[in-house]
Amino acid sequence: MVDNIESEPNTVLRVSDLGVDFDVRGQSITVLSNVCFSLERGETLGIIGESGCGKSMTALALLRMVPSPPGKISSGEVLLNGEDLLKVSKQQMSRLRGKEISMIFQEPMTSLNPVYTVGNQLVETIQQHLPVSHAKAQEQAIELLRSVQIPAPEQRIKEYPHQLSGGMRQRVMIAMALVCDPKVLIADEPTTALDVTIQAQIFDLLKEIQERNKTSIILITHDFGAVSSMADRVIVMYAGYKIEEGTLDEIRNNPLHPYTQGLLRSMLEIKPDSSGFRETLPEIPGTVPDLRNRQPGCPFGPRCTKATAKCLEMPPNFDLGAKRSVMCWLADKDDTG
């Protein structure tokens, strides 16, 4: 208990029982159910999963940006420093967005407005949140661009997004997200659209920012390599459920859920001894289930090689202590079979 009280003040974000439904042609589709996690100050949490597993939806739900209609946050609590983001007013929310919690999107080109200069957009964001003059905001914008290592920021600030390279644009997005030193930074596939050498630069930058400001980062990605180089803890998602959670080492070295195991096995890596030439890669048979017509029981059941009769029943989230959990009957200690 003592331990619990001591770790509590460090928790920046606590999400519990988060659920999102989409209403499509009169049919209600659950795209996210019962997602729980917490985030500590200065910590990086990686959320990993295939496309359509609900990882981006989690991020949007945290910021209350789920497209509505058709989407709707159906349940849950998002406590940011003790304040429930799902309960505050819309005005209050737009103040918090960008100030306390902010987001970097996957596609820097589509997230920036092509008809305004980079400076214009940065100044607008700054003035939205801080009571400063235009000239002062301009100065701050240059400072921000410098802090994300953009060379010659005085010139760059006058340029339009199309004049910047992909890596530069992502830096501008990061600068924009950092305007108010947010406590939580959500990075949704921040490097997927970028080249490997640029990706490495962006990750270095994020780490440096985190060290400087003690920012907590939620990194959403499908690339386990990215998670490995950034995250302290990892959440694995599948079909809208959090199916496993643990520290990076636990997930990497001792994955418990058959899906996590399969995902890690099918991942290709560079081998220093260049072994494994054209070897058949382990596959996860089948495809992600159709969310429109979910079958009862474990969502991974139909693709799972270890499935038993029990898997026709929905497994609960087995809490293994120390923020380690897995949603699979295999982890059921009371099970005599």
Binding site: E50, S266, D273, R278
Partner: protein, 329 residues
């Protein structure tokens, strides 16, 4: 390795150049020219796979397209099974296309949304007037089975398939005319990891069964290492290093290759490894740097690098590199 010694090359590319003219800034200005591919040479042995690695804008996709005549070349020679493709007319190119096909990166935009999967796969047979209607139908069924799609999926439209299945349709279409050579332009980069494994397994299996020759274009070194016999690394329109798979990955020479390898994130990359970090972005291909193209981002760049462009030389048997210096540790 030794079993391949006697194979002959299916494709020989010599000093290939592709230049794009940009719109003039004004009426009197000289049009700027993008040197997308600027003197690239390689050959691919029958039944083997050449990997072309590079970041976006380095010219690897253009190289793949120019081989099929989808882009006009501005110089150099492409010998496909003895025929020089750069000199054949459009009419003569048509029958040759039966023997060379391409699989595109994005299976979402490479399929016509208004055609069924069956029609898409049958299209090449119709265009090239192969077989009767019944024979074509049989061939489509055969192809569906070959790439692991069900027969009853022929009547479905592309949007009813997942990304991996769509890529299977693209592969079936590419195989329809029994080609010898396939350009795989980032065939797995738009897919999820688990699906990526399925498609790579399929490509390997098909290559063995049908004795296909691949040009495999990718930015993902792990995929390249998995599937390619030989690897060429491109930077800003030129090949900077070329070697067989083993020596390239175990003993990379060019500073760019080494930076690329160390930038790849692996599951163990959280452990502190000394990484080579490249500064800045790829330079603009319109105003490429003088001398060595990589010098603006190279940690070892010296005076000579800005004056003389290094040529691709055989530094050790079978290992080619374009750099003025010996490998630096």
């Amino acid at each position: 390795m030794t079993q391949h010694v006697e194979t002959s090359s299916l494709l020989e590319v010599e000093d290939l150049k592709v230049h794009f003219r940009l719109k003039r800034e004004n009426w009197f200005a000289e049009p700027s020219i993008v040197h997308a591919v600027d003197g690239v040479s390689f050959d691919i042995q029958r039944g083997q796979t050449l990997g072309l690695v590079g970041e976006s804008g380095c010219g690897n996709t253009t190289t793949g397209r120019v081989l099929l005549g989808l882009v006009q070349s501005n110089g150099g020679q492409i010998l496909f099974d003895g025929t020089d493709l750069s000199s054949v007319s459009t009419e003569d190119m048509f029958p040759l296309r039966e023997r060379m096909q391409i699989i595109f990166q994005d299976p979402y935009s490479a399929l016509n949304p208004r055609q069924t999967a069956g029609e898409i796969v049958m299209d090449p047979l119709v265009v090239h007037k192969v077989g009767s209607v019944k024979e074509r139908q049989e061939r489509v069924e055969e192809l569906f089975a070959l790439v692991g799609l069900r027969k009853n999926q022929q009547a479905l439209y592309p949007h009813q398939f997942s990304g991996g299945q769509r890529q299977r349709i693209c592969i079936a279409r590419a195989l329809a005319l029994n080609p010898q050579f396939i350009v795989c332009d980032e065939p797995v980069s738009a897919l999820d990891v688990a699906i990526q494994a399925q498609i790579l397994n399929l490509l390997c299996r098909l290559q063995d069964e049908l004795n296909l020759t691949y040009l495999f274009i990718s930015h993902d070194l792990a995929v390249i290492q998995h599937i390619c016999d030989e690897v060429a690394v491109m930077y800003l329109g030129v090949i900077v290093e070329k070697a067989d798979r083993k020596s390239l990955f175990e003993n990379p020479r060019h500073p760019y290759t080494r930076a690329l390898l160390s930038a790849v994130l692996t599951s163990s990359s959280g452990d502190k490894v000394e990484r080579i970090r490249l500064q800045g972005d790829i330079p603009n291909p319109i105003n490429k740097p003088s001398g060595c193209r990589f010098r603006t981002r190279c940690a070892y760049s010296q005076e000579i690098c800005s004056q003389v462009e290094p040529t691709l030389e055989e530094k050790s048997p079978g290992h080619w590199e374009a750099c003025h210096f010996e490998t630096q540790e």
